[in-house]
Symmetry: C2
Subunit: 742 residues, 2 copies
């Protein structure tokens, strides 16, 4: 039978005996492990590749039919049921658990049971490649290599301990173009994916999700489905954003305050923005002011509402699409009831205890100790975050800021790894969730704290000329000459576009720079005729989807939370993701070792994180429009003073107080609503009340409509629900018939 | 075997032949129905009771063992599985569907299959009474009495068409005290419920939920579980409310503004409150002002936050308790996949169509037509509601208002019935949900519109002396002398306490006034020795839980939405519910016919309604404290003017404008922040900004904490989750073992 899984280890070539001396335990474990694998019925085939310095040993594993059947039952593999001709529906492949083919009793008299499943007459094709991988991985993961009590079980831990250097399922046939371009008729799945998915020329096509799922499993397919879905939804958002931006051009041309400002000449002499700055003319920021108006206009209010609702609707429809997909892929009631403990957990756990579900003795870490550690972890994060929040705020120079952010991401991720490992979570899922949460909190603060600072705090507490507020003796930072919104837009552009560019370039280049690949380069001439297991060994280890998701989630945050300051953000995101889809596809098809198929019914903890961001977006947009943009002052001026807005510029500028004039022998203007003593004018409080009222109305309206959308869009589409009911009904009927006919 | 179900019809005694002439179709249907029941294997026994004017015919039905087995499978009854001695766990009764005993094949060679279930050796006790009822009702509901195509199926429709006057399962032994008080050793279930649940003397006990569930089924048991749970949770709320109220007494005694007011004598002459009113001294409302302070103080802010969080936490914990209960009662994955259409629906549906799930032909009502009707229904409700909202607002005299509200409730409910019937919903569940929603919207507006009007609108838009705003020529209504909060508290007290009193008195008296019971009174002497079916026939028809739930939900609204104006509301609710539990218990045990057991896994649509109310409560409390109470003005005065609050009374009163003084030759004061021209003072805008800011902060903090609580309290308790996992695991193991041993 075909070999599906490969175990690899390396030995120094020249001094074989010594290396055994170096790690006798490793050698013993490896031998024991392989022996036990043989015992559980796996077929092994050993291959060696000699390199200049070392010997690489490959063990090719494959499972015979009987083993496959036994474990298929154990891990609840689902296979389609054969439709009985007596049954009423014409064409319906019921999905049902393969409930019956235990290893020992798989003889002829029992064959009837397997025959009720579709395609069971061909033993070679009955189990799909990915299912064989799952079975093999299951066996590898539960075979012990030492004392079970010490948790010396499973290949993951052996790889961890460097007993094996790698363990991976084999890719299908290589997909270098010249190898198959002629014989396009009978392409393998991998070749199909390469040709119809991973090529740049496919940019206009939908992704072949069913094929991806078949080759990589549900978890990875769901990522790509989500990415494609998100990219699709970005289309309307970016169209609306761009239109609003373009409308801005027309509004700028007809805007009276802008014309007033540009034509004001020397009439508005502004106070210095910092202690060593000089006086400046307000008319000098004419261009900046006009640029700011491109997105600081009534259209942005509409865009903010639109994007907030867009985010909510997007998530609702994703839920729906996800449930359709998971129904189509038959993993909708997937639940890991008895998830195995992580190998690291078993290795480190200080004691054992009975598992309350299975009743088996297994490694245990006391609950309250874990709770304490998690608490400590939270404290560490809070401290780190608050420390870094303050340090970031001071670098609001945009490009430097970006570099700091990208550097800190790395440090953060490493810290999160250490913390999460120390917290000793029992299962991989729990571990990943906690890790994701930690990194997300880190990154959220890391990426968003400087925009948040600029949007809501910078320039708010500066006092007024002659009476500037100071913090530690330093005058509080004011926004640039163009105002805070311009500063924010600039910051966002640099972070978003810069980050995406850097990331994509990294993704594009880094695989080609990998040291392992370089080393392999010396044997490049041989590579053409290398065996598949060797070729796969040269590839990168698939690190999981974490960083891909994280990147997208941070991006989702930018285009929703700060959309009021950057209506083009959805467009940039759209372009980026269009590239991202194909880049990721290429990575998975050609650059990564094949990952073991994992099941999933949704995108996991990322969904609540996205929901959290969508919530934050509503709050942020409300406050941005109310307090950072000039929307409310303009509205106020229009309805109380002058409907054409003439004189608005003068209205927004206060005159420096008398004391300042006496001190400096000159008077200047500054943004604010204060009288000649520096006290707030009544208009300030009118505006404040209107702004707060605006926030309340905006939030309530948007959340209310969001809730309505939530109610109107059922989580499962009617069609799928009907199908599920129909299947339940058919299954019940089939069982009853079966019972009667026996 | 015992008879479990009774069908009843009445015939005029003297003119038997004529009556057959009057309704030959009825007679034919009845005969056909009874014949078909015999065919499906039910045993029938006919009894007649002669009364002076009419003959009452009873048909006692019972099902033999084989019929029970067949239908138990059909309706997926769940019975405990016999634990195999080979299985690893010592004591564990696994719950599993009774999957195998079809009628035809129930012979000895198949007996093995039933023997795997617990208690299957005793055919008399294997099925519980309630399960026998379910089976019988199932048969009655699906037996046709005419053309199936016309929907002439089922006993519900026959009762609807008056072919039968009643169809009900039999109660257990009568529970008049003298009949059983001596032989207390072997009480029947009904007697247990009567003695340990329905008696007033049980007020300190927990309810025997398992017994209630055994006798009345999960749906009713869940109502009582919820009611008990809610009453329990009212305890802390009412303690906190009462304490806050008592603290109010101390605060009043030391309150400087109150003392200033009471000692002010004639110094504050107030402007007339209406056109025909006269001037009055502010000191005359001394007592009212002090009473208002009992709940208008800092404690109320705490209470509002507390009750908002209480409501959220209560709902979260109910979810948890509910999942525990539904797991214990084994109905957690109850889903009605193939719910039958309502009898009225089948009778009225204009066409038939294939059911997409079962593939059977059945009555059908076009989806788009139903949508149109539902939309029209919504419009009708909106119109009704907006019409009545305005009419209610004008009666804010409290007692009259209550009577109007109670009258309108009746009209509303009738209208909702008509509308919902007209919308033609296919299933009973859908019908009930839509009906509940409609009535809830009606009642919500009906009960809450007048408090909302008083709290947020009354007295807000009155203008100022000399320039009163008018609506249709009438001066806008001002709040009473004591202020709006006092008005609100008064209104709430009347509505809440009054409504609860009236309801409870009604519930207590009405069964005793029932005409049917009176008529039966003439045969009272015979009643003692009457047969059980006759006795049950005299009882009231159980109308379902709708009105019970509605009452509680409206109450829940009062104690959460307006708690800031009435800190004693939770206490009143607590007292009311303590009575309510026992009153309802008595009704169900002694005054209602026994209802057919219904399954349910939660309280259905009432839960989202409660969540909606809890949300509303947060908004309402935020606005009540910010705008209706004097909390913010006092705070503002304390921090900007005088920390002892002396002079506060003067601060809150404006002086009538100069124009008014010239006109009336006198000056007077009124509540407001206006200058001598009637323009708003800067303080008004300061306060407005603070109030709006308070709303924003209050809402965000409470919703944020609420969300945290939501996250911290898992919907299913860990214990139950572990049990569920354990059961899944055991079931899987048992199946595998079974497979191997075969």
């Amino acid at each position: 039978s075909r070999s599906d899984f490969v175990l690899v280890w390396e030995e120094p070539r020249s001094m074989q005996e010594e290396s055994m001396g170096v790690s006798p335990a490793h050698h013993r474990w490896r031998e024991e492990f392989l022996k036990r694998l043989r015992h559980s019925g796996l077929l092994q085939e050993q291959k060696e590749v000699l390199q200049t310095k070392k010997r690489i040993c490959f063990v090719l594993l494959s499972a015979p039919w009987s083993v496959l059947c036994y474990y298929a039952e154990e891990i609840s593999l689902r296979v389609p049921l054969q439709v009985q001709p007596t049954s009423s529906a014409a064409v319906l492949t019921l999905s049902s658990r393969l409930t019956a083919c235990p290893l020992s009793s798989f003889q002829d008299q029992q064959a009837g049971e397997v025959q009720t499943f579709l395609g069971s007459n061909n033993k070679d094709t009955f189990f799909k490649t990915t299912q064989r991988h799952q079975v093999l991985y299951e066996i590898l993961a539960r075979t012990p290599y030492g004392l079970v009590k010490n948790g010396e079980v499973g290949v993951d831990r052996l790889v961890n301990e460097q007993v094996f250097t790698a363990a991976y399922p084999l890719h299908e046939v290589r997909c270098t173009p010249r190898a198959w371009s002629e014989a396009a008729v009978s392409l393998s799945l991998r070749q199909i994916l390469y040709a119809y998915w991973a090529q740049w020329s496919c940019w206009r096509r939908y992704q072949p999700l069913d094929h991806i799922r078949e080759y990589f499993g549900e978890k990875i397919a769901l990522y790509f489905a989500w990415l494609g879905f998100y990219t699709g939804w970005l289309l309307p958002a970016s169209v609306v954003g761009t239109v609003i931006f373009l409308i801005g051009f027309w509004l700028v041309a007809t805007d009276i305050p802008a014309n007033e400002l540009c034509g004001s000449g020397n009439s508005f002499v502004m106070c210095p923005l910092c202690n060593i700055c000089s006086y400046w003319n307000y008319s000098s920021i004419c261009v900046t002011y006009k640029a700011g108006l491109l997105f600081d206009n009534g259209g942005t209010v509409f865009l903010s509402v639109f994007m907030s609702l867009w985010a909510i609707t997007f998530l609702e429809y994703w839920k729906r699409t996800c449930s359709s997909l998971s129904h189509r892929w038959d993993c909708s009631d997937f639940q890991d009831i008895e998830e195995r403990p992580r190998p690291e957990f078993t290795a480190m756990a200080p004691m054992t205890m009975r598992n309350p579900v299975t009743g088996a003795e297994e490694p245990y870490f006391p609950e309250n100790k874990r709770f304490n550690r998690t608490l400590t972890g939270c404290m560490v994060i809070i401290i780190m975050v608050s420390l870094l929040k303050s340090s970031i705020a001071s670098f609001s120079g945009s490009v430097l800021n970006l570099l700091v952010i990208l550097l800190l991401s790395r440090i953060y991720t490493a810290l999160a790894h250490i913390l999460t490992r120390w917290e000793m979570h029992r299962t991989q899922t729990k571990y990943e969730d906690m890790f994701i949460l930690k990194v997300f909190v880190f990154q959220f603060v890391n990426f968003y704290s400087s925009p948040v600072y600029i949007a809501f705090f910078k320039g708010r507490f500066i006092g007024y000329p002659g009476n500037y507020n100071t913090l530690f003796g330093v005058r509080n930072e004011d926004c640039g000459a163009g105002g805070c919104l311009i500063d924010l837009a600039q910051e966002l552009l640099v972070i978003m576009v810069g980050k995406q560019l850097i990331n994509n370039i990294q993704e594009f280049i880094s695989p080609k720079m990998n040291p392992q690949l370089k080393e392999a380069g010396q044997e490049a001439q041989r590579q053409e005729e290398a065996s598949p297991w060797e070729a796969d060994y040269q590839l990168l280890v698939c690190e999981g989807l974490f960083s891909e998701y994280l990147e997208m989630v941070i991006q989702f945050g930018f285009i929703t939370i700060f959309v009021a300051a950057c209506p083009l953000a959805p467009l940039f995101a759209l372009i980026n993701n269009w590239v991202e889809v194909r880049l990721d596809a290429q990575k998975f098809v050609t650059e990564y070792r094949r990952p073991v198929v994992e099941r999933a019914q949704d995108i996991g903890i990322w969904f609540p994180i996205l929901q959290f961001i969508a919530h934050m977006a509503v709050l942020s947009n409300a406050f941005l429009i109310a307090f950072t943009s000039s929307f409310v002052p303009r509205l106020y001026y229009r309805y109380t003073r002058d409907s054409t807005l003439s004189g608005f510029i003068n209205f927004t500028l206060a005159t420096s107080p008398l004391s300042y004039q006496q001190q400096h022998n000159t008077s200047c203007r500054y943004r604010g609503f204060r009288d000649e003593n520096g006290e707030y004018l009544p208009e300030y409080f009118h505006l404040l009340a209107i702004q707060l009222g605006f926030v309340i109305i905006f939030e309530h309206v948007v959340f209310f409509i969001g809730r309505l959308i939530d109610l109107m869009v059922p989580d499962v589409s009617e069609e799928v629900e009907m199908k599920i009911k129909r299947e339940h009904y058919m299954a019940k009927e089939a069982l009853a018939e079966n019972q009667v006919s026996k």
